[in-house]
């Protein structure tokens, strides 16, 4: 066999393997999403959003408690996690640029990304559940916030570093102090990118179950009190899917559909934002 022919065969084999691997992955993805859409969509109805769960074994009811709980927990997680993430990213990219402390913070943030979320759940359980003696919504928010921080921090850092240094110098040259340079010039230039990071972080925590299981746990009653145990979609899906009742399974499918759809929308929005902002170059 000549070298050229050999290379062609080699390339063909490699290509085939790649395609097969891709198809294999795609197959399961379509399978899962297909099921979620088929079972989930048919289980969606108006009561799902307006009514609270019926007592176990009884027909009817909805998941209002879980939708509201999920919203509240995610909202406060965002409120806690995003500012910390943005300030941390700003420190690394601006004030501490190139410094030792910056490197250390950056390294810890990288480690935090890869800490299993259940570990974060147990950690928050130890500091915010045990001392109060009961599960509560705040603990859930804090657990999710801890997961969000490194995501927001890393995107913020990357986006700030994309802003050319000369732009900062130009603002300094007009007599601006550093904090104004950051807020008025750098953040403005990086706004779309940072927003994308925030959305990605929200999408990332929207599907988390383990950290909530240890913190906000669950509540079959409707509550907006963050000091109480609080229902969330993911924990509800977990509980209902494991439960013995057929209509529980139905509702778990419906909740899965809603959450998948939500994450899909957020992710697509992020892609669109990135394409719109950075696609030109």
């Amino acid at each position: 066999m000549t070298g050229k022919k050999y290379r062609k065969v080699e390339s063909f084999v490699a290509l085939s393997f790649c395609c097969m691997a891709a198809l294999f992955g795609l197959f399961w993805l379509v399978f899962i999403l297909g099921d979620v859409v088929v079972y989930g969509f048919s289980a969606i109805n108006w009561e799902l959003f307006t009514e609270d769960p019926a007592p176990p074994g009884m027909e009817g009811g909805g998941l209002r408690n879980a939708f509201v709980g999920q919203l509240l927990i995610t909202f406060f997680a965002t409120l806690i996690g995003v500012p910390i993430g943005i300030l941390g990213g700003t420190f690394i990219a601006e004030y501490g640029r190139g410094g030792k402390l910056s490197t250390i913070v950056s390294m810890f943030s990288d480690i935090m990304v890869s800490v299993p979320s259940i570990v974060i759940g147990t950690f928050v359980y130890a500091i915010l559940v045990i001392p109060f003696g009961h599960f509560n919504g705040w603990a859930g928010s804090v657990a999710l916030a801890v997961i969000m921080i490194p995501v927001v921090l890393r995107t913020t850092e990357d986006m700030l570093k994309l802003i050319p240094w000369s732009l900062r110098e130009a603002a300094f040259a007009l007599g601006a102090p550093y904090y104004k340079v950051i807020i008025q010039v750098v953040y403005r230039g990086a706004a779309t990118g940072i927003l994308t990071g925030i959305l990605l972080a929200i999408a990332r925590v929207a599907g988390e179950t383990a950290p909530l299981l240890f913190t906000s746990f669950n509540n079959s009653f409707y509550t907006t009190d963050m000091n109480e145990p609080m229902a969330s979609l993911t924990v509800t899906i977990f509980q209902y899917a494991m439960g013995p009742f057929d209509d529980w399974h139905q509702m778990a499918w419906a909740a899965s559909f809603v959450i998948t759809f939500f994450i899909l929308i957020v992710t697509v929005t992020c892609r669109a934002l990135v394409k719109w902002k950075y696609g030109k170059n």
Partner: protein
């Protein structure tokens, strides 16, 4: 009698990374008020370094060191009690690449005014309009002041940056190779603009383009290896330089 606006006395400058090796050595020169002073010299000789002393831009970076004096308005601007924010509003700067901010055309020009604490809306609008007119950009942007500055071409952005620098009414504007990233037509416009504003503002411009220095400047300084080899009237430098090496550089024998 010509008035001196900036005078350097034995100015030396050290970058943090360069240790005790000066990047500028004992530079003494007098910048005449109004008009254009050009700094020329081979790349890496210290033109930018010298220019950035005049608004103390170097102070952004830790570990740098000046020696000697720069007298501005009767005081040594290198002294530690100089108010840098005030200094930078009196000595503006325009960079090599256009540095339009990610905001509207109007906000770009108004930026320095707002920094200075100007809050009167109609006053700001008047100054923005006047600055854009002075920068010969008004006709092109009059009806899209709220559009992003990045919608403008490179040459327009550079004139926008000049308008922004002029809006705070500085006494001096420093230009660091302002046309090296521009096409010949945009370059011509910037040169015309400089010829216009030099009537009111002292201009110090770094350029590696000798024809440009000859065309637009009244005084020229030739820098080499961190030293001011020769400084004087542009006419004299270009027709009858004192130093052999200046003549060699100007006639393109090296560089």
């Amino acid at each position: 009698m010509e008035k001196i606006v900036i005078e350097t006395k034995n100015l030396s400058f050290f970058y943090a990374e360069q240790g005790n090796k000066p990047s500028l050595k004992n530079i003494s020169l007098q910048i005449i008020e109004k008009g254009v002073t050009a700094l020329i010299g081979p790349s890496g000789c210290g033109k930018t370094t010298l220019l950035r002393c005049f608004n103390r831009m170097h102070d952004l970076y830790p570990g740098i060191r000046y020696e000697g004096e720069i007298i501005f308005d009767g005081k040594n601007m290198l002294s530690s009690n100089t108010d840098l924010i005030d200094l930078r509003s009196r000595v503006g700067m325009v960079f090599q690449k256009p540095t339009a901010f990610p905001m509207s055309i109007f906000d770009n020009v108004a930026y320095g005014l707002k920094l200075k604490g100007e809050s009167n809306k109609s006053e700001i609008a008047d100054i923005v309009e006047q600055s854009l007119k002075n920068a010969a950009l008004w006709d092109e942007v009059e009806d899209k002041l709220n559009a992003s500055a990045y919608a403008l071409s490179g040459g327009q952005q550079q004139r926008l940056v000049i308008a922004r620098a002029m809006a705070v009414n500085p006494e001096i504007i420093l230009f660091d190779e302002p046309t090296s990233a521009l096409d010949p037509i945009s370059t011509g416009k910037i040169e015309e603009l400089i010829a216009e504003i030099k009537k009111d503002i002292t201009i110090i411009i770094v350029t590696h383009n000798m024809q440009q220095a000859a065309r637009i400047s009244d005084h020229t300084g030739f820098v080499m290896l961190g030293e001011m080899v020769e400084y004087g009237k542009t006419e004299k430098i270009f027709t009858n330089p004192r130093e052999k090496i200046t003549e060699d550089y100007i006639t393109g024998r090296f560089g």
